[in-house]
């Protein structure tokens, strides 16, 4: 232990490795067809297998294997062609079999990278491995002062455990990593990435060392980080705690600490002086899993675009605003919807605005998703083109056409303009015509306006609203009026 005299925080480097558990959105559990849903009544999604009845056997969920291989491909991991599952033995009431089925020696993915961005700097964070395992149930301690209750709904839920190399050096980087990973899993649609509901859970292995040193310090594992904010605060707090210990001349103890968000502190759960005795061995109930090049190729083809590739394309090819790019690269389904629409209309930014604005607003209000609505890329392209060609006002389109487009699959947008009544059909041209009638009628006022009496705008508005504005959006008319005044 070298002297701490004269040292300060700036002399130390933070070293973090992350372990992220990603709950997969498969319909079934990892080894049974029981429902994998959050928020059900306790012990309702459990079969004989989930409560570990004798005689039951695990059958691996192929969708879970596909999910981890997809994530591995996206992160450029080495996909392990011959994998197996191991039993990890420990007793706890929420682990019904007395062992967890996980992977120890032969995980599905080895290595890989994830590129993160902190302020303007981009860098790759190396991954150690990713494996599949089943989640435990939940022990509920706060229902009674005496008894613990066990809810096994979550038991057997498919999880990916992703482990990074210890090469994250700031809490911002850790946060950026988790955010980028969340975006990726959502984008490739293997998890909802919801940290509040526990679909993504994070443990951080934190250590400190003197700057310039290449040796790793004693690591402390911090558990229970259920938001990026907590992750960041916990890492910052642990860095401070460890540096203070070192400055005081104390050794860092290898331990597991539990983060308490309400007080922004952590408490020691257990020290790691004794070797964990999990007695891993290959699960004899599950045959080895062989992945062929052909299997991997099929999955590769599903990943047409990754979020970062999409970003580049949206920026360079479609010249979208940064805000739009960020929105569209969140979800592969929205992105594909957009790209399809772009084959039919060149109003890229306007279509993006529609997806981010009116459509998203409607979806939020109705609590539904784009793909379960009746809107198609073709219809979106058609509406946006119609607005741009001034066949319909934005307001009419957003307020009247959109709800129909979203809900009614019989609604034919291409017929909407042709068959509507005269007033709607000639909307723009007619108002424009009316504007010019008023201009002629009040040519003196037009002259005054041109000389600089801009206050007359209100007068013209009043006239036009009187003449043709019934039931129309004054804002739209205002825009048209200003345009026509400019063109005078």
């Amino acid at each position: 232990m070298h002297s701490a005299r004269g040292s300060s925080f700036t002399d130390f480097q933070l070293v973090v490795g992350l372990e992220v558990h990603i709950q997969l959105n498969c319909k079934g559990k990892l080894f049974s067809s029981d429902k994998n849903i959050f928020g059900c009544e306790p012990n309702t999604n459990v079969s004989a297998l989930n409560i570990a009845h004798p005689g039951t056997l695990p059958i691996v969920n192929q969708k879970a294997i596909d999910s981890i291989v997809l994530l591995g491909i996206a992160c450029k991991s080495e996909i392990n062609k011959l994998c197996f599952f191991d039993r990890k033995s420990y007793f706890y009431p929420d682990s019904p079999k007395g062992f967890q089925i996980t992977q120890d020696n032969e995980p599905f993915c080895k290595g890989g990278i994830l590129n993160i961005k902190v302020s303007k700097n981009k860098r790759d964070v190396k991954l150690t491995k990713m494996h599949l395992e089943e989640d435990a149930g939940k022990s509920i301690h706060d229902k009674s002062s005496k008894d613990t209750y066990v809810d096994l709904n979550r038991a057997g839920t498919p999880l990916i455990e992703l482990v990074t190399e210890p090469e994250i050096h700031s809490s911002e980087e850790a946060k950026a990593f988790v955010q980028e990973l969340r975006r990726l899993v959502q984008f490739i649609n293997i998890s909802d990435g919801n940290m509040e509901e526990g679909s993504m859970r994070c443990d951080a292995n934190v250590s400190v060392r003197r700057k310039g040193s290449t040796e790793l310090g004693i690591k402390v594992e911090i558990k229970n980080l259920n938001s990026t904010r907590n992750l960041q605060r916990a890492i910052d707090g642990e860095f401070k705690r460890q540096v203070e210990e070192v400055l005081k001349g104390n050794e860092i103890i290898s331990e597991t600490r539990d983060y308490r968000a309400d007080s922004n502190t952590s408490v020691s759960l257990r020290t790691k002086e004794t070797l964990d005795e999990y007695r891993y061995f290959p699960d004899p109930d599950l045959p080895f899993i062989q992945l062929t090049e052909a299997d991997i190729k099929v999955l590769k083809e599903k990943l047409i675009l990754l979020p970062w590739e999409l970003e580049t394309k949206l920026l360079n090819k479609f010249s979208l605003s940064k805000e739009s790019v960020q929105f569209l690269s969140q979800d592969i389904e929205i992105a594909q919807f957009f790209l399809k629409a772009c084959e039919m209309s060149c109003n890229y930014q306007k279509m993006a605005n529609w997806l981010m604005g009116a459509i998203q607003k409607w979806l939020n209000k109705e609590g539904t998703s784009l793909l379960s609505s009746n809107l198609t890329p073709k219809k979106l392209a058609f509406v946006v083109d119609a607005i741009e060609d001034k066949k319909v006002s934005y307001t009419t389109a957003a307020n009247e056409l959109l709800p129909k487009l979203m809900t009614d699959n019989q609604f034919d947008i291409t017929q909407a303009f042709a068959s509507d009544n005269e007033e709607d059909k000639f909307d723009f041209n007619r108002i424009k015509k009316d504007i010019h009638i008023i201009f002629e009628q009040y040519s003196d006022k037009v002259l005054q306006y041109k000389k600089g009496k801009k206050g007359l705008l209100g007068f013209f508005m009043g006239q036009i609203m009187k003449m043709s504005g019934k039931g129309k959006d004054p804002k739209e008319i205002n825009i048209l009026l200003e345009e026509e005044l400019k063109n005078l």
Partner: protein, 478 residues
């Protein structure tokens, strides 16, 4: 009494007997021989109700392959809505929510389940001396054990309490009691028969196997039980031949190897040895090529088997923790006490010993010395067995070193000696190949002697034909 299902089915057809009468006969036998302690429970009412239903089907001529077959089921095979406790106190009160695939398949073919049968606790043992339910007695000599772990299943067939039984064989638990009780016991190729619904002991060894009065019934049961199952990922997709139809396809060009390391073993009794040599001589006389096969790894098989099966068992039995079902100790002071006391009260000594052995060989300090090494030796044994079976069509050896031994012979002072009761049966278990035990005579005390035959993986068709040939032409005529 009828000696095979085909004879029963002819009688059913001629209406000289009904399923009801058959079931009543089995129930009566079970009642008369309660002292054998073969059944933990008989399903009398249900069995009679099923028999009535099947009798109706017979009259309409739309009956399944196994009509007339009264089946006993070892108490480690699940039958939906029936109790099952693997002969253990720790599963007191447990009721199965599932039926084993094998059970579902035989019910589909109109078998009638007579009841559940006593065995060694969690199928661990060779004598069916059950610490919670008492010893199973040998029908041929009540002072002697029925063998194990499927002792109740074998003794029940010998005593006509049922026509056939489902046993389970991890290291010999179907074949050894079949030999002791003078009946036929078949261990199919590992993965040939679904393990779904079988209480796991050593998952990479466990097989459900039929115990019957004759080879023909074993063949018939196997063809119904076997085949891929979506509920067992390790079950084989191999197609299942109609074993019972090809029993006469024997071939005198078959080459037979006798494993001399077993016949010259110090533990073998002279009478067993002579009986096996008697068969071999007779085979030679029937122009089969019989020669000596060497298996120098014999001594390594039991330790390999015990290390690996105990390792698997230690995790397979971790679920019996008192939390969700079965026994739970009263008023434990905390969680750890609940686990410790429940398991201390619920498991017998033999089971505890194997759990501890399994935990020991999987612990990090001894993992490589025991578990990893045993896995390597297993591959070696499997490879050598396959090599021998590429030179011979069948390997022939005694099923057991001795005939049925007296009860209470083994206690905690001679655990290893007790483990050697499996010496001749574990080779097929460790290698995963099929093996059958058939009766070939009796010793001077009138105790049955079993002959064991092994064949290549998935060659049950040949194995059964060969066993049938010996049964029909040697055993029956001797």
């Amino acid at each position: 009494m009828f000696e095979s299902l085909s004879k029963i089915q002819s009688a059913l057809k001629e209406k000289s007997i009904s399923c009801c009468e058959l079931v009543e006969y089995h129930l009566q036998r079970a009642g008369e021989h309660q002292n054998i302690n073969a059944f933990l429970e008989v399903y009398a009412e249900e069995a009679i109700a099923s028999a009535k239903r099947i009798d109706k089907k017979i009259s309409k001529n739309e009956v399944g392959k196994l009509a007339g077959l009264g089946l006993g089921v070892k108490d480690n095979i699940c039958y939906k809505d029936h109790r099952m406790q693997a002969g253990s106190k720790i599963l007191d009160g447990f009721i199965s929510q599932i039926s084993a695939t094998t059970i579902a398949r035989v019910l589909e073919e109109d078998a009638i389940i007579i009841g559940r049968q006593n065995c060694d606790e969690f199928a661990m043992g060779s004598s069916s001396e059950n610490p919670h339910f008492g010893h199973v007695k040998n029908f041929h000599d009540l002072e002697r054990v029925a063998g194990g772990s499927s002792g109740g299943s074998a003794s029940a067939v010998a005593a006509d309490m049922c026509l056939a039984s489902f046993g389970s064989d991890t290291g010999g638990s179907v074949r050894q009691p079949a030999a002791f009780c003078g009946v036929v016991g078949l261990k199919p190729t590992y993965s040939r028969v679904s393990r779904y619904g079988l209480v796991a002991y050593g998952s990479s060894f466990d097989t459900i196997g039929p115990i019957t009065k004759c080879v023909e019934d074993a063949a018939l049961l196997l063809e119904v039980m076997a085949g891929q199952d979506k509920n067992d990922a390790t079950s084989s997709s191999r197609s299942v031949p109609s074993f019972s139809k090809s029993l006469n396809n024997f071939n005198t060009n078959w080459k037979i190897g006798f494993v001399s390391d077993t016949l010259n073993h110090s533990l073998i009794s002279p009478e067993v040895k002579n009986a096996v040599f008697g068969v071999l001589k007779w085979l030679e006389g029937n122009s089969f090529a019989v020669s000596e096969a060497f298996f120098p790894l014999l001594e390594y098989i039991p330790p390999t088997y015990y290390i690996l099966s105990a390792a698997e068992a230690s995790t397979n039995l971790a679920r019996y923790d008192g939390i969700r079902y079965g026994l739970r100790t009263e008023n434990p002071e905390n969680l750890e006490a609940l686990y410790k006391k429940t398991r201390a009260e619920g498991f017998g000594d033999k089971v505890k010993r194997r759990i501890m052995l399994g935990n020991f060989v999987l612990s990090s300090s001894y993992y490589d010395t025991y578990f990893t090494k045993a896995q390597k030796v297993r591959r070696l044994i499997k490879g050598e067995t396959e090599k021998l079976l590429s030179q011979y069509d069948f390997l022939v050896l005694p099923t057991t070193p001795t005939t049925a031994f007296k009860a209470d012979k083994f206690d905690e002072n001679n655990v290893v000696e007790a483990y050697l009761a499996d010496l001749f049966t574990v080779q097929a278990s460790v290698s995963g190949v099929p093996a059958i035990s058939i009766p070939v005579g009796k010793d001077s005390n009138g105790l049955p002697i079993g002959l064991q035959i092994m064949s290549k993986h998935f060659e049950e068709e040949k194995l059964l034909s060969f066993a049938y040939f010996i049964e029909q032409n040697f055993t029956k005529k001797a």
